[in-house]
Point group: C2
């Protein structure tokens, strides 16, 4: 069972002629371990996944094997595990890693709190690694916490963007066609060869262009940009009082909406819920105060929620400034305390910056200030650059 | 004559099985227009390039055809033209664009000062577009400024990273094998098909992994990151006096070298030469003054050089600060003038920011300040974010 992109979106890279079929690399393949269960529907305890992750990543041009290359400081394989963990009906995930990377992998599972993962030792080839994973699932040992699955999804550790619907298609097709993973015997994962030289019932399952494999350094760049874009879509604006929300909140909300997809303004009551819904960007607006009480409260909530374990969370502490009543320098000096807060927050993967927005009485000028503020907020959220934490920006 | 990646680096994308050969898409093909010249060496006036650029970019998932999608605010096709223009022995570059994009394309050529470019109208297919380009080169009209070439390189408008050595290989192979562009007749650019169904002398020329095609949105992200990385390698640190250069310059140079590849410290005499060598990043250090005289001089030189026509140039105006003699707020207020300078500079594609570095007497503390400054400088250069111009950052 192999996965390819949909008909309309062929691959763009020039393929090497002599290894043309390599371009048709398997994205995921499913093998039905037990024929008895093959006819059954996608049942609760029937599916496991095996991730061969023993590669050395020599094509990447970097010393680290590609599955361990960091994206926003987190290893690539952790994103792939996250994508599979989200799928509740995948009961077990077996990762095959080389002996030398076993401790690294254990560290990743612990740090990013991955669940339902078991480790096996990788073989000398990708196929041997898959075989070791399947063997671990098939073994009928007492005290073994792995349950024998009906269908096993084989998924590359370096395809982080796999979606549930595609995985479901693979599993359903495996159940309908009773495909076996003959790859192991033929030493190739290519559907073409399988169809030509064997009697295996292979079927091409339509994938999506998102299902690409991180191979070159440019793919890491692309993956980082995609991940940044995904977590930058939602922003929550916390206003310190109800009245301020009316006054400035709607104006800011409207402008932020031109730059970001989902903007939610709150006065704080439903913050817990918003954090639970995985919003990774917060703007804490302190309309007339220059202290950090509200920001500190927000930082505590984010920290307690474990939200920043998987992604760096951006928090921007906004302070309004009336030039006429307080000199800019004085205000800046006060708000500069943010540097100390930011250093502490960084340890918990929270990227904190300050933003001073000029607050004139005249509506037109206020809108202009807010517009500049919006540009800065948007840049901070989209770039997510830890080199600029603790800075006090001025709009 | 087709180009594929080298043997060791196959494509990573899953290939659609029914259109498997599409994965072997031509990166560039060369046709010898005149057989008489085919045996000759790579002569000065013998080579032209045709760029089919009539595509609609529907796979990209964005409304703009991909060749016109902006990377650092400049259309992708301009990067491809720049890559070909750099090759002095390519005498003419013919771009085939649709009638509706003709004015856009003329605007791009003018704005980015491209040379040796002629435009022809694109056909309904890629092959018709190539044909129109070849026809323009073959026509023997009086007053026609195009010279009849021996070899024509066909190059996709959406492969911006082509290097001279690869182009030379294609031309040499075309001359040796006398390959004709039979693609036009067969309606496919695939070497496999050409070899199988025709008697054309086709040869696979090894390309490089850099020769990839921008197809999906993720490829645009990757291209932007690659371009940013390339122009972020060199930084020039301009110190205001010779003595300061001794004192702080070496320290800063040493730290910047841990983040960026080429760091050049100057007191200004050879600035013109450094600009000519295409350095896109400048740090202007004003050790004890808070005015912008030096920065303004640098901005003027960058502007006059036309350096910022192709890429946004980053200029960071660094000011040192002795907390004990001048209050932070007062210094900040003074340096905040940078916002006005930055607005003006942005119009000329120069991204100006300010950086205040704490300057204590104690060596250890000074090094700590400079280290923080280095992190910020590096972040500004690598991100090249126009949303953060005119800001005064503090290290």
């Amino acid at each position: 069972m192999e996965l390819g992109p949909p008909g309309g979106s062929g691959p763009a890279e020039p393929g090497p002629r002599l290894r043309g079929l390599r371009g048709a690399d398997a994205a995921a393949s499913a093998s039905s371990l037990s024929r008895f269960g093959a006819e059954a529907g996608c049942r609760a305890s029937a599916v496991a996944a095996v991730l061969p992750a023993g590669g050395s990543g020599e094509r990447m041009g970097v010393p680290t094997p590609k599955q361990f290359c960091p994206i926003l400081e987190r290893p690539l394989i952790s994103y792939t595990l996250q994508a599979l963990e989200r799928v509740s009906w995948i009961k077990d995930i077996i990762v095959a890693v080389t002996r030398e990377n076993m401790e690294t992998m254990k560290g990743i599972i612990q740090r990013y709190q991955h669940k339902r993962i078991s480790l096996v030792e990788a073989g000398v080839t990708r196929h041997r690694s898959i075989f070791n994973g399947l063997k671990a699932l098939a073994e009928d040992q007492p005290n073994c916490r792995l349950s024998k699955p009906e269908v096993v999804i084989i998924h590359d550790a370096v395809r982080p963007f796999v979606e549930e619907d595609v995985l479901l298609k693979v599993v359903t097709a495996a159940q309908e066609h009773g495909c076996s993973d003959y790859d192991l015997e033929f030493g190739t994962e290519c559907l073409h060869l399988a169809l030509k030289y064997s009697h295996i019932k292979a079927k091409l399952v339509e994938g999506s262009p998102d299902l690409w494999k991180v191979t070159y350094k440019r793919d890491l760049y692309a993956a980082e940009s995609i991940i940044k874009e995904r977590i930058s879509q939602k922003v929550c604006v916390v206003m310190d009082t109800k009245e301020d929300e009316e006054h400035v909140g709607h104006c800011l909300e409207e402008m932020l909406k031109t730059e970001l997809n989902h903007v939610k303004v709150t006065s704080g009551q439903d913050l817990q819920q918003i954090i639970l819904e995985q919003c990774y960007n917060f703007v804490c607006v302190n309309v007339m105060t220059s202290d950090f009480e509200e920001t500190q409260r927000l930082l505590n909530m984010v920290e307690e929620s474990n939200l920043s374990i998987l992604y760096p969370v951006v928090v921007i502490s906004v302070h309004f400034l009336d030039y006429e009543s307080v000199p800019l320098g004085q205000k800046m000096e006060k708000v500069m305390q943010i540097r100390e807060f930011a250093k502490e927050a960084k340890k918990r993967n929270i990227l904190l910056s300050g933003l001073l927005i000029y607050f004139p009485q005249e509506e037109q000028k206020l809108r202009e200030s807010l517009r500049q503020g919006t540009t800065i907020i948007s840049a901070l959220i989209k770039e997510r650059n830890s080199g600029l934490i603790g800075q006090l920006l001025v709009a």
